[in-house]
C-alpha cells in the first residue's frame, strides 16, 4: 500500500484491538512492513507482551519498539494499539488512538469488553474503516466516528454524542428487553 515520505501526510501502519491474552479481536494493517499472517501475529505478540505490564488505563501510553512508535490504551480486557513510523508526531497518533477507543466505547454503549466487542464485531470493523483509510487519518473525533458507523442502527433515537454512558446503557437494556418480549 501507499508509502508516505516523511514530509507528507501523517500515516498509520496498523491499528490493533487485542484481548487480555493478546489474541486478535480486530486488526487492520495498512503498511507493507508485515506481509504474512505469521509476521503479523508475531508483531502482535511482541507488542502485547511488551506493553502488558504497563498501566495504560487512565491515559494512553507510548513506547518505541523495533523502530516503530506504538501508542496504546487498555480498557477492561481490551487492548487498543496504534503503530506508526518512528518519525511520526506522537500526539497525532494519540488522537487517533483516543478516537478509536472512545468511539468503540460509544458504539458498545460503555460496555467495553471482549465479549461485547465480538458480539458487535461488525461495528468495530466499520469503526476502524471510518478512522483510517489506507493509512491516512480519516477522522479522529469519537462522536463523529460512532455517528458515522451507527447512522442506520440508531433507530432515530438521540444521537450518541448527547447520551451519557448510563443513558446509553439504559437504552440498551430497553432494546434488549423489547427484543426478548418479541
Amino acid at each position: 500500500m501507499a508509502d508516505f515520505s516523511k514530509e507528507s501526510c501523517p500515516s498509520v501502519k496498523n491499528i490493533l484491538l487485542l484481548d487480555s491474552e493478546g489474541k486478535r479481536v480486530a486488526v487492520k494493517y495498512f503498511a507493507d512492513d508485515w506481509t504474512t499472517n505469521a509476521s503479523k501475529l508475531a508483531y502482535e505478540k511482541s507488542v502485547f507482551t511488551k506493553t502488558l505490564k504497563t498501566n495504560a488505563r487512565a491515559e494512553a501510553e507510548i513506547t518505541l519498539f523495533d523502530g516503530y512508535i506504538v501508542v496504546y490504551k487498555f480498557v477492561h480486557d481490551l487492548h487498543f494499539f496504534i503503530t506508526a513510523g518512528d518519525d511520526e508526531n506522537e500526539l497525532i497518533l494519540a488522537s487517533v488512538l483516543n478516537g478509536f477507543s472512545d468511539s468503540v466505547g460509544l458504539l458498545l454503549r460503555g460496555d467495553v469488553e471482549k465479549r461485547t466487542a465480538l458480539e458487535n464485531l461488525d461495528l468495530i470493523l466499520l469503526c476502524i474503516d471510518e478512522i483510517i483509510d489506507g493509512g491516512i487519518i480519516l477522522e479522529t473525533d469519537a462522536n463523529t466516528i460512532a455517528g458515522k458507523v451507527a447512522t442506520n442502527a440508531v433507530d432515530g433515537s438521540v444521537p450518541f454524542s448527547e447520551q451519557t454512558i448510563s443513558q446509553a446503557l439504559a437504552t440498551a437494556r430497553e432494546h434488549l428487553a423489547r427484543s426478548l418480549l418479541k
Binding site: C9, L121, I136
Partner: protein, 898 residues
Amino acid sequence: MPRSLVGGDLAAPEMAQPYMKKDDDDEEVEYSPFFGIEKGAVLQEARAFHDPQLDVRRCSQVITKLLYLLNQGETFTKVEATEVFFAVTKLFQSSDAGLRRLVYLMIKELSPSSDEVIIVTSSLMKDMNSKTDMYRANAIRVLCRIIDGTLLTQIERYLKQAIVDKNPVVASAALVSGIHLAQANPEIVKRWSNEVQEAVQSRAPLVQFHGLALLHQIRQNDRLAVSKLVSSLTRGSVRSPLAQCLLIRYTSQVMRESNINSQTGDRPLFDFLESSLRHKSEMVILEAARKITEMDVTSRELAPAITVLQLFLSSSKPVLRFAAVRTLNKVAMTRPLAVTTCNVDLEGLMSDTNRSIATLAITTLLKTGNESSVDRLIKQITNFMSDIADEFKIVVVEAIRSLCLKFPLKYRSMLNFLSNSLREEGGFEYKKAIVDSIITLISEIPDAKEIGLLHLCEFIEDCEFTYLSSQILHFLGNEGPRTSDPSRYIRYIYNRVILENATVRASAVSTLAKFGALVDTLKPRIFVLLRRCLFDTEDEVRDRATLYLQTLGGEVAIGNNEKDAKDFLFGSFDVPLANLEASLRTYEPSEEPFDISLVSREVRSLPLQEKKAPGKKAPAAAATPAPVSAVDAYQKMLSSIPEFAGFGRLFKSSEPVELTEAETEYAVNVVKHIYDSYVVLQYNCTNTIEEQLLEDVTVCVDASDAEEFSEICSKPLASLPYNSTGQIFVAFEKPEHVPAIGKILNLLKFTVKEVDTSTGEADEDGVEDEYQLEEFEVAAADYMLRVPVSNFRNAWENMDPESERVDEYGLGVRESLAEAVSAVINILGMQPCEGTEVVPKNARSHSCLLSGVFIGDVKVLVRLSFGLSGPNEVAMKLAVRSDDPEVSDKIHEIVASG
C-alpha cells in the same frame, strides 16, 4: 443495540442475556460468539445471499463471520474468493443501510480482480450519486480502491463533484481517495487542482486537512508551486490542527530546500513556525517545536521551542512527556547546551513509570550533564538500571561511554558503574556492550587502564560467554604486560587455563605467552605454566603451548631473535579478512603455493546506502554480495599478460577515470595500475557507433610532463566492433618506490571502417583517424592504499616519534569546514579512522585521523587539525608519522603542492 450477531444456529437464547444474567456469564471464561467457527460452514451459509427473499439480519451475520475469518488471518482460495464476491454483489438488492456498509467492507477486503470489478461498478456508481451522504462517501472509497486508470476517467466527473460536496464526509472520502489514486494516476488527479484548492478553503477541519495533503501531493514536484502554496496558507488561517501540522511540515521543507537563511531578511516562514508554538492544540505545538529543533537556527531562535518542550515534560500525559523528551534527546546530540535548562525536569523523569521515557531522560541527561553532576547522575542511574529491560540498558551503557570520553577525569566512577553492571544479570548483547565500552575507555584514557583491566579480569572469573572471555584475554595480552605490575594478572589468566572450556583455554595460553615475551622477569614462571599446558586434553591448547614455548625459548627458526618473537606474537594481521577470503576463493590448487603477500590490502569502502539505512529496513542492501576485490581481478588479468607478468605485485589500482564526455562516439576511461617500479595504464574503450568498426586502436601517450616516466611498451587493440569494450595497455617504468607524478596527455588513434548495418559486413578500406581524449594525472594519492587501523591511538604511539613531521597550512577561503576536510582526504587518498571524516554541523574546528600504506609498504598515519578563522578561512595543522621519515616529508610535499 447492542445487537447479537450470531443467529439461531449458534446458541441464540444465551445471546440475549448478557445484561440480565451477567454473573452467570462471567463463569464462562472462553466465551466467544465465533467459538468453533469453520470456513467451510460459513461459505455454505453464504449461499443465503442468493435467496430471492433476502434475510437482512442473517446476511449481516454471515458477512460478519466472513470478515471475522479474514481478520483472523484465514485466506480464501481464488475460487472461494470469487464465489463469495459474486454472492456479496447480490446483496446490492437489499436497501438496508447496515448491510450495505458491510458489503462495502467485504468488497474492499476481497480486492477483486479487474474483470470482477466490472460487476459492481454500476452498483457503486449508483451509490456514488445517491441522496444518502453515507452511501456517497463509502461508495467513493470502495470504488477508488478497486478501479484502474481507464475506469477512473469515467468516474472522474463525479469525483470532482464529490470533492466540493457540501457534506464534509463525502468531500473527505473523495480527497483521501485522490491521495491514494495519485500514486498510480498522477496525471488524472492533477486535473482536479481547482476543486482541491476549493476544498482547502473549506470550513470543515478534516476536509481542509485532506485537501491540503492532496494539493501538496499534486504539486510536490513543482518547488515553486509548493513554496507559493505554503506562503499563501501561512498568512491565512488554517483551522484544523491536523492541517496546521501538515502546513508546518511543508513549511520546514520549503525553508530547507530554498536555503533561506533565517538570520537575513526572509522571516515570514520562520515567524509562522514560531507562532505555531503558541497554538492551542498540543500536536501543532509539538510539530512546530520539532521542526524548529531540526533546523539550523540560532540559540535565540531555538529557545522558545525548547521552552514549550520543557513545559510538556511535566505533563500528566505519558505521550506528551515521551514526545518532548524524545525531541530534546535529539537536540542534545548536536546542541547539548540548549537543553541544559531542562535538566531539572529531566532528572524528575528518571523515575517515570514509562521506561521508554525514563531511558530517554537519562540518555539526554548524560549528553547535557556537566562534569560536576556526573557522580550524582551515575548514582541515580544505578538505582534505575535494575528494573529496565536489556535493550534500554544497552542504550544507557553507550551513553555512559560517550560521557566518559567527554569527561575523562570522571573515569573512576564510570568504570565502577560499568563493572557493577557487569556483575548484574544480563544477556550477551548487554554484557558485550559493557565490555566494549570498558575496552574503549581503557584505550582512550591511559589512567583508566589498570583499574579497567582489573575489572575485566574479575569479570572473566565468572563469565558465561566464551566470546567475551576470549576477547578480554586477547586484550589483556596486548595491554597487561605494559602495566606497572604485570604479574598481578597472571593468576586470573592461569585460572582460565584450569577452569574453562577449550576455546578460552587456548586464548589464555596465547595471553600467557605474550606476557612471557614482553616481561623478562616473568618469563621463567610463564614457562612453568606453559609447560603444564602441554598436558591439556585439547590439541589446540597443546599446540599453542608447544609453539609458544619454542618461540620464546628462541630455539627454533620461527623467531631467532626477540624482535621476531614479538612480531610473531603481536604483529597485527595486516591483510583485510574480506580480501583474504576473496583471494582464497579464487586460488586454484597448483604447484605454486598460495602467496599471502599477493593479497590486496586495499579496503573497499562500503557502499554509502548501507550506512544510511539505520538497521530498520535494509532489504536490498543486505543482499549485496561481499565486495569481490577488483584489485584481485586486475592482478589476475595483468599477470596473465606476458609483458606485465614480471612486474611483481600490483600495489594499487585506481578507480576508472573517465576520459570522454558521456554519450560521445567513443567512451574511454582509464585505470591506473601502480607497481613498485612500473605504472600500467589500462584504457577501456567502447565503440558506440553502429556504422563503424575500429581497427588498430592505440593510445598515443604524451608523458613529457611526467618526467620520471619512461614508456616501455604498449599493447594496442586489433579491432573494436560496435558496442564492445576493449582494453589498450601502456606501461611505464619509474624509479622504484618513488611516487612519480605528472600529467598524461592522450590521443586515441585508429583506423575506421564503414560497416553496413544491414549485413554487418565492414568495408575493405579504412580511414585513419584520431580522437582527442581528456588529460589526467597520476597523483600522489594513487600511491597510497586506504588501509584502516583498528586503534589509531595505539598505532600512533607505536610509531617512531622521530619520524613525525608537523607543519601548518593555510587552506584559504573554503565553502565549509567539511568541504576542506574531504578535499584534504582526497588529496592524500588515505582512509579516515574512527569516523573522524564526519564534521559536525556548526563546528569551528575539527580533527581528523587518517591511515594508509604508501608505496614501498610504508605505513603512514596522519593527524589533521582544522580550524576556522575569519569567514570560512580554513587553517590546518598536519602531523605525520610513518615507518620511513622520508615518506613523512613526502606527505607534506603532497599537501603543499595539492
